[in-house]
Symmetry: C2
Subunit: 422 residues, 2 copies
């Protein structure tokens, strides 16, 4: 039986779950796949790990890629710079390298793909996007003959959890975030998730594979989720729209449109029932048409399983040449992205304000699909006006929003949410 | 560059689409995967195929597995017996064998897995279940460390199309079937689809892989879809339930529950928005939790793509030992399957009938979750009574239904639809 020895760096939640998965699944994998896998070495700064005392452990993680007793290095330490050093050291030492680190892949995939190819070893990163969903192998191995036209997905479980709780339990953004933190779906410092950076990194990885062109985070237009008010979620409900943290990639002849932002979907969208911490990816490809993949976006065990699936690729002798796969240059642009738009404008309760806004919309050749004017508590003399605008591209809608914002009757920053037909 | 020569048997819709896919994707596959694929020989009873005249063609399909110019035989002729002969001849001649034929796999997988293993060649059948969704490789390669607890899916696109049209356009079963035939989603003889046999075959293949135990069609409890009335779909809407053709597999310690039948799902189910000819599979696994995969269930191009993904496995050197993977025996049973139930009982409009039915339910320890008594057109003195019954297993619900059916006030056969919490 083929034998594969793993050097594991990082023994936090995911690392520990991975080690336990290997130990618990060893017999199953031997029987079902004819492969013997074991962890031969652990790199952990603090030394021996409780529950994994039997495994030889070094405190210098850079010892791991040097060991003759290691075939594949699994990086679960997180962060970018140390992980990058470890990846380079591993690949140069002709060790296969498997990581769950989206920041590493989003930042350094180009160099790492090249180094893996030069050293004829496998670079696996299934766990870096959409945790438990085997989306990398689906794109790579399942949709082979397909030119992928577009993808749309929910890639940040924290944001999806927050929007779900705001909608279902009528919570404020702050209360929903606190709940996410309590339940372990948001970090103590949630900046990375709620600023949209996490989703943007994952979007760049998905885009790279989907379009076979190297995307990096600066190619992604992204917005955070912290400006969303319960008002918007409730107006959405009236309009049969559901708010989701969406990531999209659309291929056109000249360029690729890449974005990651809160957006409304129709209530019959396949993405509508994807709730709480779940992730999903919808892919539209030339031959197969639309397919969707949904599941847990994070969590130690789902992530550990995805890491294991990469290990199994290595056991299978797979050395995928990502450098060759994604060698084309990428031109990205967001300004031609076109969709319907939801605007919530807080206006002073004076006659004529709707007419002024309508005139500005008409001047920009925009048509109104729906308008809600709600007589809420008018103690401050301000009322929300919700307008749904038919299909407009980014350039025009942004100009129009700043035109409307300048009207003296407009009180607060306008809330703008894109509406996507997916 | 590695070179793979394909012998294609069958040049109907799928076979032709597959040949065109190979021709059109040749450059893409060479660039992205470093593999040269070509069709070196066609087996077609009627001889040369229009549009594929350049490819050497023989009229005796059994010549194909004998050819020295063929590495992998692709079977797209359909039917069981000839396909089985072709499969055996191919494997014995040490040719890899790839098929889209669910009937072949459902009927003969045990022998074919064995033969493939003995001859050290790959047996690929990705296209046999859920056409364009790479579900076989997801279970096999993506969910490795997971003991799969259960699956639930929509595996028959024809039935799903018919239910969708009945619901959306208020059509009768017959009218929806006619529309499915007109649009090419149902065969001129639709028996195989509407009897539930097609879904049952696919269920047996999914069960075999999910639970690593050999399932055959006789292990599957299945029901057809032709007894469904628009009345049931409309009562379902009132109860916020949506009718779907479902296939389920549930693992328990003693046995596996396998079934394929029309069932209601709640309107917020992940399966609710899977409409028309689409398929979907929801898998619940020990480590990953719930994941869902959705897409086209049939169609020449999606099927051709799945066939190609198997070819790529062969190009990768993959020879998966399915015989070893599914060597455990299977014990299946449906009588312990437990869920809520919808009953529509046509009763004569007499006082006391609801009391009689309630008494029978109470005697069987069943509780009523919902009851709708509708004063419809009473010209024939009969009214429909809809009862939703809380969680009951098959043994009890079947006994109760036959008890109720025997009441003199009950006019027509009782309509019984299971309600699944997925």
């Amino acid at each position: 039986m083929k034998n594969l020895k793993i050097g594991l760096c990082g023994t936090g939640n995911v690392g520990y779950a991975f080690a336990k998965t290997i130990i618990n699944s060893k017999a199953l994998i031997e029987k079902n796949y004819g492969l013997s896998v074991s962890i031969s070495l652990i790199g952990a700064r603090k030394g021996k790990v409780q529950g994994l005392e039997d495994i030889h452990t070094v405190t210098d993680i850079y010892e791991v890629p040097k060991s003759n007793d290691v075939d594949v290095v699994v990086e679960l330490i997180g962060g970018v710079e140390e992980a990058y050093e470890l990846a380079k050291a591993s690949l140069k030492n002709k060790k296969h390298f498997v990581t769950a680190n989206k920041a590493l892949v989003a930042t350094h995939s180009k160099e790492l793909f090249k180094l893996a190819n030069e050293n004829n070893v496998h670079f696996g990163f299934e766990a870096s996007v959409a945790g438990g969903i085997p989306i990398i192998r689906i794109i790579r191995d399942g949709l082979i003959s397909n030119k992928i036209n577009s993808f749309a997905g929910i890639l940040n479980g924290t944001s999806n959890f927050i929007f779900s709780k705001m909608a279902d339990e009528n919570l404020s953004f702050e209360a929903a975030l606190l709940l996410a933190q309590e339940e372990g779906f948001a970090e103590p410092d949630p900046t990375f998730d709620i600023s949209g950076q996490d989703a943007a990194q994952k979007t760049s990885i998905l885009a790279t594979l989907s379009f076979c062109k190297h995307a990096v985070i600066k190619n992604i237009f992204f917005e955070g989720i912290d400006n969303i008010s319960p008002l918007d979620i409730n107006f959405g409900k009236q309009l049969e729209l559901i708010l989701k943290p969406l990531s999209v990639g659309i291929m056109s002849t000249e360029s690729v449109t890449l974005g990651s932002f809160p957006a409304f979907v129709k209530k019959n969208s396949l993405l509508a029932p994807i709730e709480n911490e779940s992730n999903a990816v919808l892919i539209n490809a030339e031959n197969v048409g639309s397919t969707m993949y949904a599941g847990p976006g994070a969590g130690a065990k789902p992530t550990a399983n995805s890491v294991l699936s990469d290990i199994m690729d290595v056991g299978d002798g797979k050395i995928f040449n990502y450098e060759k796969f994604v060698e084309n240059p990428l031109f990205s642009s967001f300004e031609n992205f076109s969709c319907d738009h939801y605007l919530r404008i807080t206006v002073s309760d004076e006659t004529g304000v709707v007419a002024k806004i309508s005139t500005l919309l008409a001047e920009n050749n925009l048509s109104i699909d729906n308008l809600i004017q709600k007589e809420l508590d008018k103690s401050d003399g301000a009322i929300p006006l919700v307008i749904v605008i038919n299909n407009s591209d980014e350039k025009i809608i942004q100009k129009t929003i700043s035109d409307i914002q300048m009207l003296s009757e407009v009180k607060n920053p306008i809330s703008h949410i894109r509406i996507l037909e997916i």
